[in-house]
Amino acid sequence: MAAGVATWLPFARAAAVGWLPLAQQPLPPAPGVKATRGDEVLVVNVSGRRFETWKNTLDRYPDTLLGSSEKEFFYDADSGEYFFDRDPDMFRHVLNFYRTGRLHCPRQECIQAFDEELAFYGLVPELVGDCCLEEYRDRKKENAERLAEDEEAEQAGDGPALPAGSSLRQRLWRAFENPHTSTAALVFYYVTGFFIAVSVVANVVETIPCRGSARRPPREQPCGERFPMAFFCMDTACVLIFTGEYLLRLFAAPSRCRFLRSVMSLIDVVAILPYYIGLFVPKNEDVSGAFVTLRVFRVFRIFKFSRHSQGLRILGYTLKSCASELGFLLFSLTMAIIIFATVMFYAEKGTNKTNFTSIPAAFWYTIVTMTTLGYGDMVPSTIAGKIFGSICSLSGVLVIALPVPVIVSNFSRIYHQNQRADKRRAQQKVRLARIRLAKSGTTNAFLQYKQNGGLEDSGSGEEQALCVRNRSAFEHQHHHLLHCLEKTTCHEFTDELTFSEALGAVSLGGHTSRSTSMSSQPVGPSSLLSSCCPRRAKRRAIRLANSTASVSRGSMQELDTLAGLRRSPAPQSRSSLNAKPHDSLDLNCDSRDFVAAIISIPTPPANTPDESQPSSPGGGGRTSSTLRNSSLGTPCLLPETVKISSL
């Protein structure tokens, strides 16, 4: 359901008649309605193509260009239509958004152009409906990546500039992580790569039999034993380089614990440890077996290449993420192996001189047969054995072939899913944040409205109009509705800050007595306050007293929150409080704008007509623009503040 909140507002207001008999206070009068000419058809001329729509439709989203008074800038009085010099094809989608509440993304248009149109018409890209959102984001990401690649290719040598005062450690770490940032790092990168290769090759060559030249008959000896010194020196050199690199990385790492636990550092350690262990192990026959085993671990040096190769890292990651599927494959294979090995063993049991000496011995046969290797070192001789052997090999093909496509497709699915899940999580967070913001925006807008003079209905004609001139009719009526609710229940809406402060409010003592004198100020409804809510006057006092306190603290922090804005004018106004009232009015206006400028920055225009979570579209976005434009409240407020300064 498209969220046309504005459509339902009249209904909500009408339903407020249910509160009337219950209200213990008189309800505020309704906002003045301008001459309603009824709904009319607007003509929007976009580069010659005329679109016609009801004014109500456009008014649904008051935060956008077409929904706000901004469109008046484009009004052509001669032709009586709104003229936009933009792409008419794109405009179709924009207009449909107003009609249906969902923004669709055109498939055949360039995403960049679409984005520009959205920005022009004041629509946030998050409004793109779910049906088109994924594709929109994908295309946008593609574009962004392509642009990023181009940029990277352009500035080949320049990496991100480090802050000037970065320590040696930070520079070292950066050199390690991004080798292409400086020539030294690049040299180091290639040198280590070279030594890894040398080490691996040495390990391999060491075992090749070299022809012993000096002996007759030529005795085959592995090169490692022929030239032990040479290989030892090469090994030492490599290990020294690796150790040095490891220690340097350890020194440069921003978080040493994390570095120690990372996979790459573990690989490094495993690569160099055998050498050191070998150094300290005495060369006697008993331990040499273990020593030889240690040498096997030297082959792990090849994994050090994964620092140099992106592909290896990706492979490692995907294997890790496919672990469950691989486990399943392994499990099903194991099951089949055990079954067939048992069968083959018992089938071949009777034969003389059979290879199938035990079930575990039969495992080897089963594996070799099932994977269709067929070495032939173990073959069944009985007929039953041969039959079962053939069944084994046939089923082997099936058992292995079946999980593999599953694994492959799983792998690709998992890979894409991960990407999508991350995207969705981020989207969800953004959406929730936006909803929260809109809700608080609505509330804050209402609280702002109250402070601006919603309370003073009669006395302050033009000033009030001045304050609230940019408030839309929708907001007027919505705020009036909330105000009626307040009056009915004799409680007021506040925000979290004030609520918690009020809970811990200290007794006011002297302030209260002065404030009661203030409550007799010529403020319309306040005279009626005493009947129902005697605490209202005190609340005002608390608020204003708090404002003194906060102003005297003089912290900018107060200004940065809307609560602060509600409670106190800017610190400049404190000095102005000693000035004459009408002067302070002007000064206060400026300060309010100043403050508003601060406030308007963190509040993004929240266009929130989501299908799932409809919330007042007027609230969020309007807050910022209202704050931007509103001048200070009523003069009635000022005499009170002046009085406080005299305390």
Partner: protein
């Protein structure tokens, strides 16, 4: 009265299930009676009815509003509190034929009473809203339910902080004012009489004259 409902899958009242709702929505299309008839039945002008229907149809293409939709719509206006209970009561008040959904006729009929009716009509409507079981009198329990639902809409952050007894006290005040013969219930006559004597209420009744 012509056949108002088109192609329904089942003659039973519309199920509240969301799954079935999806399915039903595509086949059930409720069309209201003609414009002239509505003009006769309500006090709206032709243009006003047109504007109302356009908005209504846009939001609810199927032509009816279910209770869930209703609650959702209403909650948009009260982001701080929980308006679902009050919205449920409102829904019952609008749904005059108690078929579980509010059609355009119900909607417009209700609005017509509130916005264009006489003060007595409006008071009657309010009474009907409070009288949850529609037995002609408001008991303290009914009033307490209504009051709690209204206070729920205020939410947590209010000044002064909402106490548990606030609705009850309010109900006591209400009964003190309205219940003439102190028999523990408020009948329609007592209600209208007491409201007519209260200036504030009379004045506020004019508040919503120009909502549409």
């Amino acid at each position: 009265v012509g056949d108002r409902r088109k192609a329904r899958l089942s003659p039973s009242p519309l199920p509240a299930d969301s799954v079935e709702d999806e399915f039903e929505l595509s086949t059930v299309c409720h069309r209201p009676e003609g414009l002239e008839q509505l003009q006769e039945q309500t006090k709206f002008t032709r243009k006003e009815l047109q504007v109302l229907y356009r908005g209504f149809k846009n939001e609810c293409p199927s032509g009816i509003v279910s209770e869930e939709n209703f609650k959702q719509i209403y909650s948009q206006f009260f982001p701080q509190g929980d308006s679902s209970t009050y919205a449920a009561f409102l829904f019952n008040a609008f749904d005059t034929n108690h078929d579980g959904s509010v059609s355009f006729e119900d909607f417009v009929a209700g609005l017509s009473v509130i916005l264009r009716g006489t003060v007595d009509d409006r008071l009657n409507w309010a009474f009907n809203l409070y009288d949850l079981n529609k037995d002609g009198c408001i008991t303290k329990e009914e009033m307490l339910d209504i009051m709690k639902s209204i206070y729920d809409m205020m939410g947590k952050y209010t000044y002064p902080a909402l106490r548990e007894e606030a609705p009850r006290e309010h109900v006591e005040n209400f009964f003190q004012k309205m219940d003439r013969n102190k028999d523990g219930v408020v009948t329609i006559e007592e209600f209208i009489e007491s409201c007519q004597k209260d200036e504030n209420i009379m004045r506020s009744m004019q508040l919503f004259d120009n909502v549409i």
